[in-house]
């Protein structure tokens, strides 16, 4: 797999991250190195292998449907950079 500047630009968009031109050049070559190394996985015969997303977890771990107190609003908003009238506030989302 070849990683080029366009790939990186696309990934930046997906990740909501913008690299500086310098960072982008560096990132492109680093990702190329790393992904090339990852390509060795293609030689692995995975025909009989399950895609394993969890290690030893149990099944059916659930809780009962019982209400517990929520946070008080000041606590909920405490770490927010901007709040207004009990709401979190963000620049207007335009459609």
């Amino acid at each position: 797999m070849k990683i080029n500047n366009e790939t990186v630009a696309y990934l930046e968009k997906l990740a909501r991250i913008e690299l500086t031109d310098e960072e982008r050049v560096e990132c492109c070559s680093d990702l190329q190195d790393i992904v090339s190394h990852m390509d060795i996985l293609s030689e692995l015969d995975t025909q009989d292998a399950e895609p394993l997303s969890q290690s030893f977890s149990a099944k059916n771990v659930m809780r009962e449907d019982e209400v517990k107190p929520s946070l008080d609003r000041d606590t909920a908003l405490k770490n927010a950079p901007r709040v207004k009238d009990g709401f979190f506030s963000v620049p207007k989302t335009v459609e």
Binding site: L19, I34, M38, L41, P51, S55, N79, P91
Partner: protein, 489 residues
């Protein structure tokens, strides 16, 4: 009495017997931190007031004769990716520079209930991504054995604080070696428990299916005592599992006689520093002298471990770190005028380059068109690696290897070549991929006097046996007793 020269368990015993007060111990710890941390930079945040307030409570409980735990009254350092209610938890990132959790991680509740006293939050690689502590937004943690070198990572601050005798104990987290590797580079004992043994609730996620909280201490007994406190099922972490509690006495009585240790040939191939190899192989002989049967075997899947690890870890990280958008908590760029800019500028300004790199990589392996080729393939490789270990454990009780290919790298040496840095995780990531418990044990020194660690991997939930081996080994090898700056205590 030099309080910091005592082990954690000894300290607790003296507190219990009224030879020491909790405050005296805490004074000593803060004195040591104030003296030494200017030099090493192990801590991001100290919580002196909270610690002294806790100390009073714990002392009162001890005075009433309450049996809190084998570590009651002992100060402890906690890695800064573990949430402490009311105390800043930064993940060593500009993103969370001012973040104050509104709840305690499960293990923080557990250690406080057991009478341990949190003294501060330790430095780390940003969001636990790195193996040198150099990606921290709060500066690197220097290695107490040689301040021109890194302390390892990502739990570098935790390991160095224990190694520099600033605290008796620390809590780290290990996603691909982040407890074991700095423990090895700093000559302390670090345990990564079986996946699920310790609740992750309140551990700020890097890679959810690999992250595990673990103890860092000066010896097997201290680690076992702490492990006994933090382990167990938590209804707030659906991936945590019930396990039998550790028994300290059983660990101390553990015998290696007749136990079988397997050494994957692939662990001793190219790239392993000669001094490290020598020290680790010397340790093998000591294990044999203790009665173990040691045998080499082939584990060819090791080759796939690093790519498998980085694909899974980065994929999960890219998702876990998407919540940092500057809306509910964390850094928000002042320059953002639109919603899109709020996301992009806040994230671009607050994440460091290594974090960005892993987020990008994660987005790549999950994006449509590459999912099957990389992410799904890695999950299948995980299955294969887990089965290979499970087969190995039919033959052997433990799998043995080095922890890291080298002793502590020089400062500014690692980050310039990320692939090389990732490749060096080869010995540690397998245990995370397979979910297995693994311990890093001080076993010797290189020609420069830098510490070398060895690693033992055990069957699922066999932490007790692992620590038993370490305890026996400590009776034969005194590497763990040497302190940074030379000399045996």
């Amino acid at each position: 009495m030099d309080i910091l020269s005592l082990s954690a368990v000894e300290t607790a015993r003296k507190i219990k017997n009224r030879d020491l007060s909790v405050k005296e111990v805490l004074d000593a710890v803060f004195y040591a931190i104030d003296e030494k941390d200017k030099k090493y930079n192990c801590f991001i945040t100290l919580c002196r007031d909270e610690a002294y307030a806790r100390a009073n409570i714990v002392q009162a409980q001890i005075d009433k004769g309450e049996e809190l735990s084998a570590l009651a009254g002992v100060p402890i350092a906690v890695k800064d990716n573990i949430c402490t209610k009311g105390i800043k938890t930064t993940c060593a990132s500009k993103m969370l520079k001012n973040f104050v959790p509104v709840y305690n991680a499960h293990i923080v509740d557990l250690i406080e209930k057991a009478g341990l006293i949190v003294v501060g939050k330790t430095n780390m690689d940003e969001f636990a991504m790195g193996s040198t502590t150099e990606t921290s937004a709060f500066g690197v943690t220097l290695n107490p054995w040689d301040t021109t070198r890194v302390s390892g990572g990502s739990s570098g601050g935790a390991a160095a604080a224990v190694a520099a005798r600033m605290v008796h104990l620390a809590i780290g987290s290990d996603t691909g070696g982040s407890v074991r590797q700095p423990s090895s580079l700093c000559s302390v004992t670090g345990l990564k428990p079986t996946y699920g043994r310790v609740s992750r609730r309140g551990l700020i996620a890097y890679a959810s299916s690999l992250d595990q909280i673990g103890p860092i201490g000066r010896n097997a007994e201290d680690c076992a005592a702490l492990m006994g406190i933090i382990g167990g099922y938590d209804s707030g972490d659906s991936t945590s599992v019930e396990s039998t509690p550790l028994e300290l006495e059983k660990i101390k009585r553990y015998s290696l006689q007749g136990k079988r240790i397997g050494i994957p040939k692939e662990f001793f191939g190219g790239g392993l520093q000669e001094d490290v190899k020598t020290a680790v192989l010397a340790a093998v002989n000591e294990l044999k002298e203790l009665g173990a049967e040691v045998e080499e075997f082939e584990l060819p899947q090791v080759k796939y471990a690093v790519p498998t690890y980085y694909i899974i870890a980065c994929a999960e990280a890219s998702s876990n770190l998407s919540r940092y958008d500057g809306i509910r908590y964390g850094y928000r760029s002042d320059g953002a005028e639109s919603l899109f800019e709020t996301y992009v500028k806040s994230r671009s300004e607050a994440f460091g380059i290594e974090t960005k790199r892993r987020i990008m990589l994660g987005n790549f392996v999950l994006s449509s068109g590459y999912y099957d080729e990389y992410y799904k393939k890695a999950l299948q490789a995980k299955d294969i690696i887990q089965k290979a270990f499970s087969d190995a454990f039919k033959e052997y009780d433990f799998v043995f290897g080095p922890v890291y290919p080298t002793t502590a790298p020089k400062l500014n040496e690692s980050l310039s070549d990320p692939l090389k840095m990732y490749m060096a995780d080869i010995y540690t990531v397998t245990a995370n991929i397979a979910g297995l418990p693994a311990v890093s044990v001080p076993c010797g020194f290189d020609s420069n006097g830098l510490p070398v660690g060895m690693q033992l991997v055990g069957r699922p939930f066999c932490e007790s046996e692992l620590l038993g081996v370490v305890y026996s080994f400590e009776q034969k090898n005194d590497a763990h007793e040497k302190t940074a700056g030379g000399g045996t205590v």
